[in-house]
Symmetry: C2
Subunit: 218 residues, 2 copies
């Protein structure tokens, strides 16, 4: 099955899919969509992704959208190595880590939202940074509290091997550093992030290593 | 297994869980958390829900948070009637409908976000309404386009029976009406919403029927 990933080097949700496909050792071709050009809002792109976003993942049968849905599809299609634990309760825990990031941190600071608060609320760069930091810090504080209470033992966020939780954490921690968030307030997250970032599947998925990453990193 | 749902009558995410539990015919006790009082931000509540949100679902083994994770847990724990189709591709489609709402519509207009744009961006009621309408309309336009392209046949959003997609749609459509969004622009969503709202499991989950709903509906 030939897979095509429509993404963008710095898209947090595309980064998740790259990690998951790498962990499963599934090959894919990248079709970068330059979010800086606004091409994602074109009718042609909306025929691929009705929201005008990335990522989308296409195979011979059609196009899938929404990284939470695609991650579950990847897990169901290539079960090994498992990205979710065996019991429903542990699976719910791991998915909750993902949802804190995937629902309550990342979408709130999506490009369209930042464009809106600049245009309609008169926010400048400082206002945008404060906005992003606020939602990252709120979410990370909750995740750190979850990690203290509920974590499954191991050096990854939820166990001895990478899980869906790490797949969400690493791209969000990358964004957090980019927005100047002090990660030392979240020692458990920082440790899990450091562990995961040494894994070859995570390394190969890093934004700066993608074909559309600019050479100067900006 | 005794289940306790920490919710709020008007919480969209709690509304999802009520529908799902009703569809599975699983009994639960409600513990309302009055979001208007701010009690959700207390340390006591954060011991239940580290984000200071609702909903949370507790059983004898502990507390689960994040409605996307809890819905999957409900589906895995009580498989019948199924809320997801049988094939991975169809499951990904249904989950994508859920994620458009659960990630890109609902969290962006969460109470904490609305409080922030009032306090920090100087937005008044009109500004808040414009904000909510914008993200609902963006998301519903995408969902309507998905429903035209990819829908599984049937009078529900993704088939002949209620699925996860309807569980996300109905509470979001309720919110859309509350914020004055013109639903006639989304005929497929409106038809699916109307079908689902005639189902007893959806009726029993309606905000106004919950124990903490005020008698005057506000």
């Amino acid at each position: 099955m030939a897979l095509t990933l429509y993404g963008y080097w710095r898209s947090s949700a595309a980064y998740r899919l790259r990690i998951a496909l790498n962990l499963k050792d599934v090959a894919y071709t990248q079709k970068p969509v330059n979010l800086k050009d606004g091409v994602q809002r074109s009718e042609a792109h909306r025929d691929i992704h009705p929201q005008g976003f990335v990522p989308a993942l296409a195979d011979d049968d059609g196009v899938l959208i929404q990284s939470p849905a695609i991650l579950e599809w990847i897990e169901e299609t290539w079960p090994e190595p498992a990205l979710l634990p065996a019991t429903p309760r542990e699976r719910a825990l791991v998915r909750a880590y993902g949802a804190v990031i995937g629902c309550d941190i990342h979408p709130v600071q999506n490009l369209r939202i930042l464009n809106y608060i600049r245009a309609e609320h008169g926010q400048d760069n400082d206002g945008v940074t404060a906005w992003c930091q606020r939602w990252i810090m709120d979410g990370f504080a909750a995740l750190e509290r979850m990690a203290a209470r509920d974590a499954l033992p191991g050096s990854y966020l939820c166990g001895e091997a990478p899980s869906l939780a790490d797949i969400y954490l690493v791209p969000q921690a990358y964004n957090a550093r980019r927005f100047g968030v002090d990660m030392s307030a979240y020692p458990r997250l920082m440790a899990a992030d450091a562990t995961a970032r040494e894994h070859p599947a995570f390394i190969a998925a890093e934004p700066e290593r993608q074909p559309d990453a600019p050479e100067d990193g900006h």
